[in-house]
């Protein structure tokens, strides 16, 4: 499409990040360096994950029918647990209010993720001749990712609390695991019901907002806002 289309996609994908940064306490504390640090941690975590995948997991041949190899994919996704460790590391290393910790981890991590996974696609795809809704969808997905990572960071923060009610620990743990397996669960559902990309996006959004609402509840229970 046109350059305007590229700009549209970029704006759609990255504006919420800028808005979040600007209008939250992140800008009040000028936490830009810390956000960038979180991005660095993201990169290192991904590197470690890739090395692990390349070393210990065999290449999964795509089946002829195009169906995903569920067991193999789930096993591969377990490596994504490292993401939680990375987020935990960021939260541990930052000093400040809980919401500052969560926002630094969330915005830094999600920002880096979206930058590395989407920017090149936009650059080569959205400016190409061919029009495809794919890039608008990717941009919207980037927004969902932001909410998802902030929610995950909030859960990780909750999990680290010593004063967490012991009866809630299993629930937090389950939600953390769910947040890791979110994408693969959505993929399997899409496969089963053969949904179109828009439904896939909607499904992801619903899953993310349910997780986010629950983690917000937990988080609000801790703070006296």
């Amino acid at each position: 499409m046109t350059f305007v289309h590229f700009v549209n996609c970029m704006a759609l994908a990255y504006a919420p990040y800028v808005v979040t940064y600007k209008s939250s306490i992140l800008s009040e504390y000028s936490a830009l360096m810390k956000v960038l640090f979180a991005g660095m941690v993201y990169m290192l975590t991904q590197l470690a994950k890739m090395l692990t995948l390349a070393t210990f997991f065999p290449t999964l041949e795509p089946t002829s029918s195009g169906a995903i190899n569920i067991v193999g994919e789930v096993l591969k996704t377990t490596v994504d647990m490292a993401d939680l460790v990375g987020i935990y590391f960021i939260i541990n290393r930052t000093v400040g209010k809980p919401e500052l910790k969560v926002l630094i981890a969330g915005v830094g991590w999600a920002g880096a993720q979206v930058l590395f996974s989407n920017f090149l696609s936009f650059w080569f795809g959205a400016r190409g001749l061919e029009f495809d809704w794919k890039y608008i969808q990717m941009a919207l997905d980037a927004n969902i990712t932001l909410v998802h990572i902030i929610a995950t960071a909030a859960l990780v923060w909750t999990w680290t609390r010593n004063d967490l009610n012991r009866t809630l620990l299993p629930m937090v743990t389950v939600m953390l695991v769910f947040s890791v397996f979110r994408t693969i669960i959505a993929d399997i559902i899409v496969q089963l019901f053969s949904l179109n990309p828009w439904s896939y996006l909607l499904l992801k959004a619903i899953m993310t907002f349910v997780t986010a609402a629950l983690s917000l509840q937990l988080y609000v229970g801790f703070t006296d806002m």
Binding site: M1, T2, F3, V4, H5, V7, N8, A11, L12, A15, P16, V18, V19, T20, Y21, K22, S23, S24, S27, W123, F124, G125, R127, G128, L129, E130, F131, D132, I136, N143, T158, R161, D163, L164, N165, R166, L168, A213, L216, Q217, L218, V220, G221, F222, M225
Partner: protein
Amino acid sequence: MIEEAIEAFRTSFPLGFVAVFPVILLVVSPITMVDAAHEFSVYRMQQYDLQGNSHGCRSALVNAEARTLQSTSMARKCVLLKANELTHARYLEVLDRGPSAIVVLISGNMSKEEVQRFMDLEVEMLRIESNLPIYFTYEDEELKRIYDQVTHSTSSDSGSAFQTIMSSATSVGYLFVTNKGQSKAQPDQALVNIEGILPGLGMEEQLPTIAIVAHYDAFGIAPYLSHGANSDASGVVTLLELARVLGKIYGNSRTHPRHNILFLLSGGGKFNYQGSKKWIEDASDNAGSSEAVSSALLNNAKLVLCLDSLGGNGVHALKMHVSKPPSETTVAGQIHRNIQSVAKSVDSSLDTSVVHKKIRLSSDLLAWEHERYSIRRLHAVTLSALSNSDDPMRRSIMDTKKTVDVDALTNNVQIIAESVLRYLYNVTEETDVNLASGDYAIHKDHIEAWLSYLAEQPRPAQALSDDHHIVTALEAALQKHVKNTRRIKFKADKRDPDFVFYDGLVQTMSASIVRSAVFDLYVTGFVAAYMAIVYLIVLKFNGVVLVASKLSSLPKVKVH
């Protein structure tokens, strides 16, 4: 609130960078990648210069949105046309409406009348010199779908202004783009002649000589769609079959005739018989030289027998085309008499008349290959099943293997071989004895195999270079039966070229889905609205948190 947002941007980014960044992006950006919905091969219309006159379409670049015949406007667009609906009048009408390119879709199942109409159209299209890029392609399912969609989305009657705006925002267009640049002249393009000889018994220079000639290239409106089964794969096949039979006869000392026979598979036949022209020039150049160059024998040839279009479907004839009526005593006269007498015994209904046509020197194109030789005062005739040199079949992409009746072709080859043999052994009386039989019989399976091989791939003169597999295969086939076979490569004169070919005749065209600029504006509006909502939510997040804490059903999160 908006001021705040602007302020936020202003304080975080250096504004100058914001202004420069898009420019940097545009400058460093690579060539637009084409990741298209559909890619297909397209074959461009002929483009060549012949004797200084240019023919065909002069352009190769296509980058335009698709339209069809039904569309309301096609100015500066790429018009898709279906070959079976296309008529001369429609074609002129389309040209009048100022498109920037034309793509003709050829469907596999055209009726007989449609094929005939298309062949006539080919002639007319070549006659009109056009600056438009004109392409031809085979219609497939995807193209059919694109055609229908384009027709649907561009032919709607303009309703109210609102509807027009809406449709301009929601409509899906297809952008057609070719993958190569503008066509360029190929001055170094070579044509190839393949010649061979069967020397007669005795002193070669003192024996009478007959030359058998057929051109092996094909011609049609689009070079790379020209299969030329009848014209002139059938002539080539006939020549090869004659070479095989005569080769056997010349190989045996007891049957060795006292005639030289020259064979020529000429290149560039469709471009005013350039191969023959070159051959004649070489022969006269070599006339004085002492070395026994086989083509020098051509100067004293008793007859040049050209073969062209010998197996048309439904045509039941074997005609002798001449520029001057042959007298009874010439070789041409004798061979014609033989043809008549053989035809009488094989198939009495066969039309074996002589067609006399004077050479029109004012015309750009020579009608038959023998005229090249007749101009040089050599005795020459063309044998053909066609009665008219202007038959559109001879220069059409519709001349495929389907159009050739192999039985009729075999019959004609049989008659020609028999007539030539009777001439060589001087059998003058009416007889039922068949010389071309037994060991020397014509084989239908040979004819069919060669015809399939030649007709199954396009054979434009532009493609048949020195190392093309058809050229090497033909040379190898001729080599098996005759002596001194060699390829003669020749190019057009540098300063005053007789013929110039152009490249870019086969291209990959991509059809990409595109949206109008208005659509981009709509998306921009949508994105702006979305951003405003996000901004509001983030700004009023405390309210959201308040609602959450009120709703909170997990009162004992914290252990006190």
